[in-house]
Amino acid sequence: MKNQVLNLKTRVMNINKSTRSNAVTIGGILIAYVVCTALINSGNMSNLLRNLLVAMCYYSIMAVSLNLTVGILGQLSLGHAGFMCIGAFTGAFFSKITVNTINNTFIRFTLAILIGAVAAGLFGIFIGVVVLRLKGDYLAIVTLAFGEIIKNVLNVFYIGYDSKGIHFSMKDTASLNLEEGGMVVVKGAQGISGTPRNSTFTIGVILLIITYLIIVNLVNSRSGRAIMAIRDNHIAAESVGIDITKYKILAFSISAALAGVAGVLYSHNIATVQSTKFGYNTSILILVFVVLGGMGNLRGSIIAAIILTVLPEYLRFMQDYRMLIYAIVLIVMMIFNWGPACINWRKNHSLKDLTKKLMKAKKEA
């Protein structure tokens, strides 16, 4: 019996480090999922928190996907919300026009997610080709501009749908010339409303885990090593024959496609979506998740996204001072989270240590 336990232990220890770390993250997500589902089913969860669960999922997906660009590719992108916007609109548009033709919710929503991801991914490639020649501050400014362009262009789109097909205008609904019974799907500044609300916590968690696995597998692959080589020293990477443009675009478009998935989840969660939501404020918010969680640290991104999604809601009792306190808490977290003292404290109080101590205590007993 003892042998078996030891055997198991060495086997666990022999699994490579990254696999073990991934297992911990996914295990953590699953445990949180089980706990939350149990709470919902027993009716013990507040309405607020139940409603926030899906939001946590899509913000986590956003943070993890941006981490690919910022932490792993090493390029600062300030337009990530723009890709979310494209995913949100294409997904919601698809769902709205097929809501009566595809009755199976699962198939329709899966297709919507795929369409959102592909559309955002294509935009990622398009924008990547244009802007990835730049780097550093220049790239940051250009991505910021592209994010705003996407937002403002979608803001004047009017798209209608009738028996003749899809009508499009950039002026107003009247110029769509819809026939009787036609439906205006995208209404300029009003965006799309009445999207079927298919996003659930379960789907959100599944998508989060898939996103996580995609990025982890990419990072641990040959391509991933090339991408990280570009981050660490792009001249050295180029000199050993890595196609810099190709790998940059690869990482950038995957990151964009995953943001598109988050967008679809968003637009199917609250039934109305406007492009103004996806301005630079949202982009910066996502960047804050990434920076707080640690560049290149996927698990950290998820945790930061969850905390910063919940925090402003639970500060509501502060009333008028809510956003002020939120900002202060954010600053304090930014300063101390990656301070040496805090890192040391976490090292000394980690779960690993705790289990070791317990083991020791057991042995001594």
Binding site: I31, G43, N47, L49, R50, A55, R316, D320, K347, L351
Partner: protein
């Protein structure tokens, strides 16, 4: 290093566990929670009524961020109305608890605010203040069958479901009323429109105005748009209106931009008739704005803060006294009316606080079609089951730095 994050996750799930404890109280919050609610009026002797059932009315709107001024006016005015009603003995003898939550003019945050209020025990929703958040919240109220009365969410989609009603005019109605007013009073034949294409309110009015203008033989010679990101320089739009010989410039926008348009039009010596909707209400209160430029501006608005009737004067005086002399705008008046409309609907239907949310809603939505309310924003307001309000639009003109009735 990495294990610690797992530890954090565990801590997080524990926090969730502890948070979940708050979720069990749905209908009636206990007294301990009441301490947190500073927004509840303090005039009422709480001790006497602690055990008596109360109506829990929630409000949602922006009190921080870009649209904060609207939400703040609504919140303040609603509190004045609630205090008045409570001081006068409540609704059918039941006191009102009122709580207002911030949505930062964002649909996502508005749904969060709605759920926060639901956890608090809200039975009736007085919200949302703005339209886009309203579109998201209406789905929630419809699913819960909770009664919803929006003071100023003017998009017609907000009241799409049968449980939602509006106090303000819907945007299309304002656009139509404006076109008809311009035609009936023979104000102009050639009209230019400057509108905000990134704003639902503005585009909603413009579209219907343009449609109705055709029927009324009004020619729109220039329809110039701007967006929230380019709302400081209007010289191009003004020049175009001037070049096309517009006699009247229709401004279905809010007053902040309108002050700039008036100033910039005066700078190029262009003096058409300016005509606006309720969004222009408040233009005289803008700091550093030369109010003589607004002379002769016509606006269709249901509320003017210096109207002579006794109720308006009392409301304005109360509001000014409570908020450092700020003059309430039309949003405030809508909210004040909204609380009294809720009161009237409760009295008509005879619902009581111990009924379920859904039963209260069923009772009230039926009562809404029967009542007629005299408020600050119109006399004899009635509703159909569509949720849209019937009341007469009122035109006011700015004369000698005052709003004066135009009729």
């Amino acid at each position: 290093m990495k294990k610690r994050i797992f530890a954090l996750l565990m801590v997080l799930s524990m926090i969730m566990l502890s948070l979940a404890a708050c979720g069990s109280k749905e209908e009636k919050p206990d007294d301990g929670k009441k301490d947190q609610k500073e927004q509840v009026n303090d005039k009422v002797d709480d001790k006497k009524d602690t055990d008596a059932p109360k109506f829990y009315i929630g409000g949602i709107g922006p009190i921080t961020g870009g649209a904060a001024v609207y939400g703040q006016h609504v919140m303040n005015a609603a509190k004045i109305a609630v205090d008045e009603i409570n001081a006068a003995g409540g609704i059918n003898g039941y006191q009102i608890e009122f709580r207002f939550e911030d949505d930062v003019h964002d649909p996502e945050k508005a749904v969060n605010a709605y759920n926060t209020l639901k956890d608090w025990g809200m039975q009736i929703l007085m919200g949302t203040v703005t339209s886009n958040p309203g579109n998201a919240v209406k789905e929630e109220t419809y699913a819960d069958n909770m009664f919803m009365l929006t003071p100023s969410g003017s998009a017609p989609e907000v009241v799409q479901y049968d449980n939602a009603f509006q106090v303000c005019f819907s945007d299309p109605n304002q656009g139509m009323a404006s076109a008809i007013y311009v035609a009936n009073k023979n104000l102009a034949k050639k009209v230019a429109v400057i509108y905000n294409s990134s704003d639902v309110y503005s585009t909603g009015i413009y579209e219907k105005f343009a449609e109705e203008a055709k029927n009324q033989n009004i020619e729109i010679v220039a329809a110039e748009a701007f967006t929230d990101d380019s709302d400081t320089d209007f010289t191009v739009q003004i020049q175009k209106a001037k070049d096309n010989g517009a006699e009247l410039v229709f401004l279905p926008i809010y007053y902040e931009e309108a002050t700039l348009i008036l100033t910039q039009a005066a700078a190029v010596d262009y003096k058409p008739l300016f005509f606006g909707c309720d969004g222009l209400d408040g233009i005289l209160g803008v700091e550093n704005f030369d109010t003589s430029l607004a002379e002769g501006v016509l606006l269709l608005t249901p509320f003017a803060a210096d109207a002579a009737d006794e109720r308006t004067q009392k409301f304005v005086a109360d509001y000014k006294a409570a908020h450092d002399g700020t003059i309430p705008n039309q949003f405030a008046a809508d909210a004040y009316d909204a609380i009294y409309i809720i009161k009237a609907a409760i009295e008509e239907s005879g619902v009581t606080p111990d009924m379920s949310i859904s039963d209260i809603c069923d009772g009230m939505k039926e009562a809404m079609t029967k009542i007629s309310v005299d408020g600050l924003t119109g006399a004899g307001m009635t509703w159909t089951s569509s949720g849209l309000v019937n009341k007469d639009p009122m035109a006011v003109v700015i004369k000698d730095g005052q709003y004066v009735s135009a009729d």
